[in-house]
Amino acid sequence: MSLGKPAKSWRKTVVVLAISALAISLLSACGGKEPAGNANGAFSDSGGNEGKTITIAAEAGGPYTEFYKKLSPEFTKQTGINVQFQEIPHDNMYERLVTEAAAGTGAIDIFQTDQPWIAQFAKQGFLEPIDGRLTEEEKKEFAPSALEAVSYEGKIYGLPYLVHTPILYYRTDLFEKAGLTKAPETWDEFREYAKKLTDNTNGISGTIVEGKQSGEPVTHLMDRFLQAGGKVLDGDKVVVDSPENLNAFKFLTGIQLEDKSSPAGAVSYDNADAHNMFMQGKVAMIMNWPYMYTLANDPAQSKVAGKFAVALQPAGKEKTSAVWSWGHGISSSSKNKDAAMEFVKWATSQQVLEQFGKQFINPVVKPAAVEALNADSTMKEEDKEAIAIMSEAVDYGQNVTTTPVFPAIQERLALSLSKIMTKQTTPEEELKAAQKDIEAIVGQ
């Protein structure tokens, strides 16, 4: 073997490595895609917003997203701005929006914001304050409580298209059969009715106490806390471990574990399951959000169309519930803020809100739009009544998400609810544990 050989093969090796390195860099260049927002950044100096594309992060599977998706071509026709919807399941939305905001790629221009996130997003600077982009008149068009729901420390961080709170849905046909003439107005009545309406031979439950370890059931738990006269935070003070909140838990365990008027499996249900059971005609009463009204009245997907009515939630010590808003906020890393603002304003314009209320039978955030709906002769009387009840419920409501750490609190309470409903601990013990943990969360 000659001495030259190894040295020569060396060079070859180097060459091959260099070529592969080059290939790698070429390949990776092809592999990456520019985020949608950036790609359109190139047009931004052409003046005006025409031809731009804005991306909205929206809740997947929701009727409201469908509504705006269907209506958005109209917006594009008016403004020349294209709209893209990025649908995200609610369970992942918070994490995804936070990481998106923190990453600041500008891939998303508008966040659909659920109430509990606004304080956190605003505090972290993920959302653009929009006070300066609104005239005083425009602000006055909204119900004051609606704008308050999207404000943090005096600044407005988005425009709400929906401010809502759960209401009671009940099956009028089953009530009649059981000899009940009106919706339950108090907790005691509710518990008694649920017992009476439970019909195991026909597979019908009186009600459903959602108990899944997940965020949504906690929104119902907050209602129980408030109705019992309790709360989670008093200013900055954590007041989870209170006799009132204990009563709330006892009310829930009473229905679920003692009366058994909620199906045993409900401990693993969240909203989607409760919704399904109601539409399948398997439950007599549930507390659910206004969105279900239209869906449950659609015979194509619901077996109970025309067989139910709505009422205010039964009152415990107090007649109240937690109010939650959904709105559109502008990402502070958006590269199309002007175009995004046009959409946000359009989405809550009088004309769009009227359609919104009409289509969904929902509470509406602008008093003028409510009046217009009331004057609308094409709407059914019972639908108008339902809107009135939903709006009344909002009037009784309270905002519970005043702290930026609410999502972490919500997650901790989800654990509490699930632990209690699956009998892993007693309400007394769990409230003590939650008090300690939430104090740590708030103290951070």
Partner: protein
């Protein structure tokens, strides 16, 4: 060997060394950039206070580690993970052995069965988790409907502590047992037929042959299964995230989901990183102990 030959060999060695370095260098650079650097930066996060996602706060030393160790949620996820890892590996080994022994007999049709048993290995854990979530659903789930057919009142799979844990276990066993089967089968087929013949002549029964011949000779394969499956089971995330979301009442919370939540919902980057390092340490210890216990004797010399 002549002097010149030695010299040549020395050069030869050196060039072989350089060749080795050059061949492995690109991969090592990639690993350094994509593993070493992130892990070091993660370590840095773990010794600083975290202030949301945008910035790091003051140096706090091991404070984050203490906080994690003291948190009841970390402790319970640690217990859950240990329970899950040990039970799932035992179940996988039992089923894996039963099936592999049968397949190894090369009865007619075993080839076809082997293909079927390989399928779950290819399936995304997310898809499997969703499938099982649907099968285990309350009311309209098919598992309980089938149980009812044979007169069993099925449990609330996702609504009770042990139901949910069993559900996670079943979904995971479904995904991972094929790997165990394939490895065992491969190792079994390489065992010499003569040994068995000799045992048969000695009058050993099937169980005795299994215990005295098959099992000891399969030690390396079992060790590999243990190490691979151990690290896979420790990192279980997708199935829990999809199937139970750690519920009910945190009874299926495992280390990965705990770290994920702490970091991406709670925005506690420091504690999340600290917990990650604790998990890493743990896996290293467990693997080391396993190697010690199971390493074939002749290697120890």
């Amino acid at each position: 060997m002549s002097v010149s030959a030695k010299k040549r060999n020395g050069k030869h060695d050196r060039s072989r060394r350089t060749a080795g370095i050059l061949l492995t260098l690109p991969a090592l650079l990639v690993m350094a950039a994509t593993v070493l650097y992130p892990i070091l930066s993660s370590f840095k996060l773990s010794i600083y206070e975290s202030q949301g996602m945008m910035s790091t706060g003051a140096f706090v030393g091991l404070d984050n580690y203490w906080k994690v160790l003291q948190s009841s949620q970390f402790q319970s996820s640690l217990r859950n993970t240990f329970g899950f890892v040990s039970v799932t590996i035992i179940v996988e080994l039992i089923i894996g052995f039963a099936v592999a022994l049968v397949l190894n007999r090369s009865l007619p049709g075993t080839k076809f069965f082997r293909i079927i048993f390989t399928l779950p290995l290819m399936i995304a854990p997310v898809v499997s988790g969703l499938q099982w979530r649907w099968l285990f659903a309350d009311q309209y789930g098919v598992v309980n409907a089938l149980l009812e057919l044979v007169g069993i009142d099925g449990p609330l799979w996702l609504g009770t502590v042990w139901g949910a844990r069993t559900a996670v276990l079943i979904a995971n066993v479904w995904l991972a047992t094929p790997f165990v089967i394939l490895i065992l089968l491969a190792a079994m087929s390489s065992l010499s037929e003569d040994l068995y013949e000799a045992a048969r002549l000695d009058g050993a029964n099937a169980f005795q042959t299994f215990r005295t011949i098959t099992l000891p000779l399969l030690k390396p394969a079992i060790l590999m299964i243990l190490v691979v499956r151990l690290s896979d089971a420790f990192r279980v995330f997708d199935i829990v995230y999809i199937l139970t979301q750690s519920g009910p009442g945190g009874s299926t919370e495992v280390l990965s989901t705990y770290i994920y939540k702490n970091t991406f919902t709670g925005l506690q980057f420091g504690q999340g990183s600290a917990a990650s390092f604790l998990v890493m340490l743990l896996i290293m210890i467990v693997s080391f102990v396993l190697f010690r216990l199971l390493r074939p004797r002749e290697d120890r010399a």
